[in-house]
């Protein structure tokens, strides 16, 4: 008799435990049901498919030089290179603007030990010249820069050098990119020092009032 009661107690206890667990799980699932499964916006993103173009900003086909004079409307008078260079004999040894007798004299030149003819084509001043002698249009200037600046060109192609705007997702829109000479003056290519914009006004993480520095 005693034995049966003991077994009965154990059975009842286990039964109660199971019921408690069931009740708890039902309650939890009900509470979690309050927050709905996050719905996805569009269909699953997939690579490939139709891609919008990456438009690289190119310098104009026809390079022009500012003569320093203004026309009647106040616009700068621009001159084609061949206006002068067609009749002038090129001096491939010229390394600096100060060595010139006329024109281009005020130009800063700070590009390592390059000479004018390192990049400019002395046979046709309206184009550029690669190290192997191939003529390159001004609009393809990046090909010229890449001869020496390989790592930068590689990074540019990989999207980790040079400013851009537009879409990260080319399946949904195009992207616009700068080219080398948009940011680097080819005659003095070091990125210029500039004043930072938008000084912080709050003190968080800073040493005090920005205006006192």
């Amino acid at each position: 008799m005693q034995k049966i009661t003991k077994t009965g107690r154990i059975v009842v206890t286990i039964g109660l435990l199971i019921m408690a667990i069931l009740l708890a799980s039902v309650t939890i699932s009900y509470m979690e049901g309050g927050i709905k499964e996050q719905e996805e916006g569009l269909e699953t993103w997939e690579p490939g498919g139709e891609q919008h173009p990456v438009i690289v900003n190119r310098p104009g086909l026809m390079p022009m030089v500012d003569s320093g004079k203004k026309d009647h409307n106040g616009n700068a008078v621009l001159i084609r290179c061949n206006n002068c260079h067609d009749v002038k004999k090129p001096n491939t040894l010229t390394a600096d603007a100060t060595q010139l007798d006329d024109f281009h004299q005020n130009m800063t030149f700070k590009h390592h030990s390059l000479k004018c003819a390192s990049c400019h084509n002395p046979e046709d001043y309206e184009s550029l010249r690669l190290a192997d002698g191939t003529s390159v249009a001004f609009s393809n200037v990046m090909q010229l820069c890449a001869q020496c600046h390989g790592p930068q060109y590689r990074d540019y192609k990989n999207g980790s050098h040079g400013g851009m705007t537009g879409y990260w997702d080319l399946t949904r829109g195009p992207r616009k990119r700068n080219n080398c000479v948009d940011c680097h003056d080819p005659h003095a290519p070091a990125y210029p020092k500039l004043m930072p914009v938008f000084p912080p006004k709050t003190r968080a993480g800073t040493k005090g009032d920005a205006s006192t520095h």
């Binding site: 309050g34 927050i35 709905k36 996050q38 719905e39 996805e40 916006g41 569009l42 269909e43 699953t44 993103w45 997939e46 690579p47 790592p151 990074d155 540019y156 990989n158 999207g159 980790s160 050098h161 040079g162 400013g163 851009m164 705007t165 537009g166 879409y167 990260w168 997702d169 399946t171 949904r172 829109g173 992207r175 700068n178 940011c183 990125y191 020092k193 500039l194 004043m195 930072p196 914009v197 938008f198 000084p199 912080p200 006004k201 709050t202 968080a204 993480g205 800073t206 040493k207 005090g208 009032d209 920005a210 520095h213």
Partner: protein, 322 residues
């Protein structure tokens, strides 16, 4: 001696129960009860004070609004219509608030090239304008730190520099929300007003946030901001393209944070800070796309994350060129 022994009242006070009742209502017990009740009522009144000092800026609908993730489509549409109406009333500006959901197959990642960042702070400015920050405080989700070369400790960075940049002995490190895999800010929120979305963006429901600022304290990157005042923005400067979880004008007294411009990036666009970067130091993209620019950076550059030892697992990476 025939007097009956009286029963004590039970509180060991030495009184005799039946006598106590005869002393009327001004006995010690009733006074204590009265004092307790008064205190209780006063405490209750104090607790209810926010309701009695009901501000006109809080509408009934706003007060009764449920959590973003519990809203169904119609409710959300109503909420958005109300928010657009309130923006019209408070700021005199026509805005459209969208709610773009995360996309399957997309997980956002950001990388920043410290070798070419010049510290010009254009990203911080673009963030300020894109995300409808309060103009007076000059708030931005990005803080650009001027760091001494040789040190990687962001706690020693200075955000208050004001001289031509870059200085030769310094490098510049913009810090914003790192969209951690394991975000401490989400863990500490007592009301679940902030959470991590499926595309990796940690967001805030500005209408559910109670402004306790626990998340601000928990974030090791100092990436969260608090709206101390009602944001003031001239009508013509308000960015009308807004997202419910991102750049809509926040109410006073709530937390806010960088969302990788999800109102832009979930449409496939680049974030505003990247577009503003003049040097291309910023790389943004889909971590799940093996051909993406961000994956190329992760595969080929020497990449590190801030405060790796904390185990937050950021989705924001920094790298130097060789």
């Amino acid at each position: 001696m025939s007097e009956e022994k009286k029963e004590p009242c039970g509180s060991n006070c030495g009184c005799h129960g039946s006598n106590a009742g005869k002393e009327g209502m001004f006995n010690r017990r009733n006074l204590l009860k009265g004092a307790g009740a008064t205190l209780g009522v006063a405490a209750f009144a104090k607790a209810m004070a926010p309701l009695t000092e009901w501000k006109e800026t809080t509408s009934v609908d706003e007060f009764l609004q449920t959590h973003y993730r519990e809203l169904d489509k119609e409710q959300l549409a109503e909420v958005i219509a109300r928010l657009e109406k309130e923006t019209r009333e408070n700021y005199d500006a026509e805005v459209s608030i969208s709610d773009i959901k995360p996309q399957k197959g997309v997980k956002f990642g950001y990388a920043l090239n410290l070798s070419i960042c010049v510290g010009c702070r254009r990203c911080a400015k673009a963030c300020h304008e894109e995300n409808n920050h309060d103009r007076a405080s000059g708030n931005s989700y990005i803080r650009v730190l001027e760091m001494s070369k040789g040190s990687m400790d962001m706690e020693h960075g200075n955000a208050d520099y004001n001289h031509p940049v870059p200085r030769d002995d310094k490098f510049y490190m913009p810090v914003q929300c790192q969209q951690c895999e394991n975000p401490p800010c989400v863990d500490v929120c007592p009301v679940e007003a902030t959470w991590k979305e499926n595309d990796g963006i940690v967001v805030v429901d500005y209408n559910w946030c109670i402004g306790c600022r626990y998340c601000e304290a928990a974030c090791p990157y100092h990436a969260r901001r608090f709206n101390w005042t009602k944001p003031e923005i001239p009508k013509e400067e308000i960015n009308p393209e807004q997202g419910y979880l991102s750049n809509r004008i926040r109410p006073q007294g709530v937390m806010e944070k960088c969302t990788f411009c999800l109102h832009r990036t979930r449409k496939g666009k680049l974030p505003a800070c990247l577009e503003a970067c003049p040097t291309g130091a910023r790389v943004f993209g889909n971590l799940l796309d093996p051909k993406s620019e961000i994956r190329t950076v992760l595969a080929n550059k020497r990449v590190f994350v801030l405060k790796e030892e904390l185990g937050t697992k950021p989705n924001f990476f920094y790298f130097f060129d060789e």
